[in-house]
């Protein structure tokens, strides 16, 4: 790498001359299909030439992108120029670069290419906070990533024996149908099938529907749903987590590789990791599984809408604890397995009243309303479910302060255990509702630059909350602390 300021501009990989048009054309296929299929009364020649002209324009545009896109990586900034009619010059200071991620969709992989996405880790600014090189040769991409993140340049794709935190085990696929994404897959598949049936006008008439549906036993439908859920979830799991490997980088950061068709390499700079989270959605928890997440600054949800910061799929709980501790670089009993402090009794009572109260109201309404079918089943199920959830919330609730982090756990539908490094706390928020005031409790929010922005310690004793604040950020609240004998509110007016 030369260091002169008049560094030559470089082009993307020559193979993009082919890839761009192909990818753009593939995106155009639905439109072309519609053009080809629809109508029948209009002039067919117009249809043919129109379609061809559109395709040609798209291909030309795709080719032009290679000629108009140039980049260079200088000593202090990375620059990218794009655009045919509207030239765009984008430049990012290298000090500001926080992420350099590689992705490769099937077309890229076919040609041995990868997209480099350079991020500054800023939340605002949207597109401007990111710079995308689409695409360069795989080896070049790896080299750029290492260069931009100032890592040691790897000799081969996975030549150096980087310490491995986790690797895919195929038995984990059993958790896939238990996650929420499984439901989404079922919905998408059935919606797609219905749309397809509609397109080919095999919409069954009402009498046909009645005959078949009337004859088919109800369990058949349930089985069909279940099978699509299981298969769909498994397919999504395989596509997303094929070849999953989590390794530790030289700087204490993490490198996450995964994906079957679209290969992703995500690097998390060590100094951006503020903590970890262990998510246990109810179903996954019943299967004794959990999902590890890293709380890092400057991560946005990717296009697939996946949970930000996931460092692994749902996996056995024991593994998840191990991965979470590995991400933080501490022992398990100082991370998500920390022994938690129970909350005051009033906090537990609040879980019960808040969980059972609404259920009782609904049950009462159901009982008062005349002739609601299935009263005798619905009411016990409702009350029993609410009671179980409330008890579960009580069991989940807890917090702790380790030498390195603040730990908080809560939740029933999704039980979340958050481990936030002390240094990651960049502010506080204390909240007290009217009922909390009466019970002498507050909800303490630790504000952080990572993840969801703040993490709460639900319903702690006022004195304990102040103690936590004092311990994590000494002196911050000291000028305000007074002896509040008899005061109910956490603020004495």
């Amino acid at each position: 790498m030369t260091t002169v300021s008049d560094l030559p501009w470089q082009r993307l990989d020559r193979r993009m001359l082919v890839v761009h048009p192909i990818v753009d054309l593939a995106k155009l296929v639905p439109v072309l299909l519609v053009i080809a299929i629809t109508g029948g009364t209009a002039d067919d020649r117009w249809r043919l030439w129109g379609g061809l002209a559109l395709a040609a324009a798209v291909m030309l545009y795709g080719v032009s992108r290679w000629f108009t896109t140039t980049y260079r990586i200088g000593t202090d900034r990375v620059e990218l120029r794009t655009g045919l009619l509207r030239r765009h010059h984008h430049s990012v200071h290298r000090d500001r670069i926080r992420t350099a991620d590689l992705t490769a969709n099937p077309a890229h992989r076919l040609f041995g290419l990868a997209v480099v996405r350079v991020g500054t880790g800023r939340r605002e600014g949207g597109e401007n906070a990111e710079l995308t090189l689409d695409a360069v040769a795989r080896g070049e991409a790896e080299r750029l990533r290492a260069l931009l993140l100032r890592e040691a340049v790897p000799v081969g794709p996975d030549a150096p024996a980087a310490p491995e935190l986790a690797r895919l085990r195929w038995t984990w696929v059993r958790f896939a149908p238990l996650t929420f994404s499984a439901l989404a897959v079922v919905g998408a598949v059935w919606f797609g099938l219905l749309r397809l049936a509609e397109e080919f006008s095999i919409r069954p008439g009402p009498q046909v529907l009645e005959e078949t549906a009337g004859r088919a036993p109800i369990w058949l439908g349930a089985v069909a749903l279940l099978v699509t859920a299981v298969v769909g979830a498994a397919v999504v799991f395989v596509e997303g987590w094929w070849g999953y490997r989590l390794t530790r980088a030289d700087d204490g950061g993490l490198v996450l590789r995964r994906g079957l068709l679209t290969r992703r390499t995500l690097s998390l700079e060590g100094r951006r990791v503020r903590g970890v989270e262990l998510d246990e959605p109810l179903l996954v928890r019943l299967g004794r599984g959990a999902r590890p997440l890293a709380l890092t600054t400057g991560l946005r949800a990717d296009g697939a809408g996946e949970h930000v910061g996931a460092v692994g799929p749902a996996m056995p709980r024991r593994e998840a604890h191990r991965v979470a501790a590995g991400v933080l670089g501490v022992g398990e009993d100082e991370a998500t397995r920390t022994r938690l402090v129970r909350h005051p009794r009033a906090a537990l009572v609040r879980r019960l009243t808040r969980g059972l109260g609404p259920a009782l109201v609904v049950a009462a309404v159901l009982l008062i309303l005349p002739r609601v079918p299935g009263d005798e089943v619905l009411v016990p199920v409702l009350l029993g479910g609410a009671a179980l959830l409330a008890v579960d919330r009580i069991r989940s609730l807890g917090h702790a302060l380790t030498p390195s982090a603040l730990v908080a756990r809560q939740g029933a539908w999704v039980r979340r255990t958050v481990v936030l490094r002390r240094g990651g706390v960049i502010g506080w928020r204390l909240e007290q509702s009217l009922t909390q005031r009466r019970a002498g409790l507050v909800t303490l929010h630790a504000v952080t630059a990572a993840g969801r922005g703040r993490y709460e310690v639900l319903d702690v004793d006022v004195a304990r909350a102040l103690e936590l604040v004092e311990d994590v950020t000494p002196g911050l609240l000291a000028p305000f602390v007074i002896d509040g004998r008899g005061a109910r509110s956490f603020v004495r007016r």
Binding site: R123, R272, T297, P344, R345, A346, V349, I426, G427, W428, R429, L430, E431, Q432, S433, L434, R437, R438, A439, G440, H445, V447, T448, A449, R452, G453, R454, D461, V462, A463, L466, E467, V469, T473, G475, L476, L477, P479, F480, V481, I482, D483, G484, R485, G486, A487, R488, S489, F490, V491, R492, R493
Partner: protein, 168 residues
């Protein structure tokens, strides 16, 4: 319910109130809000006499609630909203039924903005917003005297200037 633990530590309120003129600003804002809800009802009542009876009732209710809101809420807010800047942090206390105390350590402050809407300007008021690197770390002090706000923003900006790092 258990009784709150007596003898525990509590917090005193932050030292400063906002400008007394903020009460009038809040009242005016409340009145405008009431008008926005009331006006369509009046228009509708004029256009469709058939529903005028119903609208008379809802309009009357709107007016009563609006007047009560304009009379009570600004006073309550003025009584409750407090702020203070210590050597280490910016503190704000707000809320009525739900108390909320926000703390932003000065070392973590990223930007300090003053903001004056047309209404605030009419009363010589200004808001100061302090943001940190967190998506939910911002805190705002509304209804400050415009002059005080400038001095405050200046002081905060100067306090954060000599601190290095990216405050995350």
């Amino acid at each position: 319910m258990t009784t709150p633990q007596s003898g525990g530590a509590r917090l005193r309120t932050p030292a400063h109130r906002v400008s007394p003129r903020a009460r009038r600003w809040w009242a005016l804002r409340s009145a405008i809000g009431t008008l926005v809800v009331l006006a369509p009802q009046v228009v509708a009542a004029a256009l469709w006499p058939r529903v005028a009876d119903v609208l008379l009732v809802t309009g009357g209710l709107t007016l009563v609630v609006g007047v009560a809101h304009a009379l009570v809420v600004p006073r309550v807010r003025y009584a409750l909203h407090r702020w203070e800047i210590t050597d280490d942090a910016v503190h704000t206390l707000s809320g009525w039924l739900r108390l909320e105390w926000r703390i932003a350590p000065i070392s973590r402050v990223q930007t300090v903005d003053t903001d004056r809407g047309p209404l605030q300007r009419a009363f010589g008021l200004s808001s100061v917003t302090v943001t940190t690197a967190s998506s939910s770390g911002a805190l705002t002090i509304d209804g400050l005297d415009a002059g005080d706000a400038v001095v405050l923003a200046d002081r905060l900006t100067r306090a954060t200037e000599h601190l290095g790092g990216d405050a995350t």
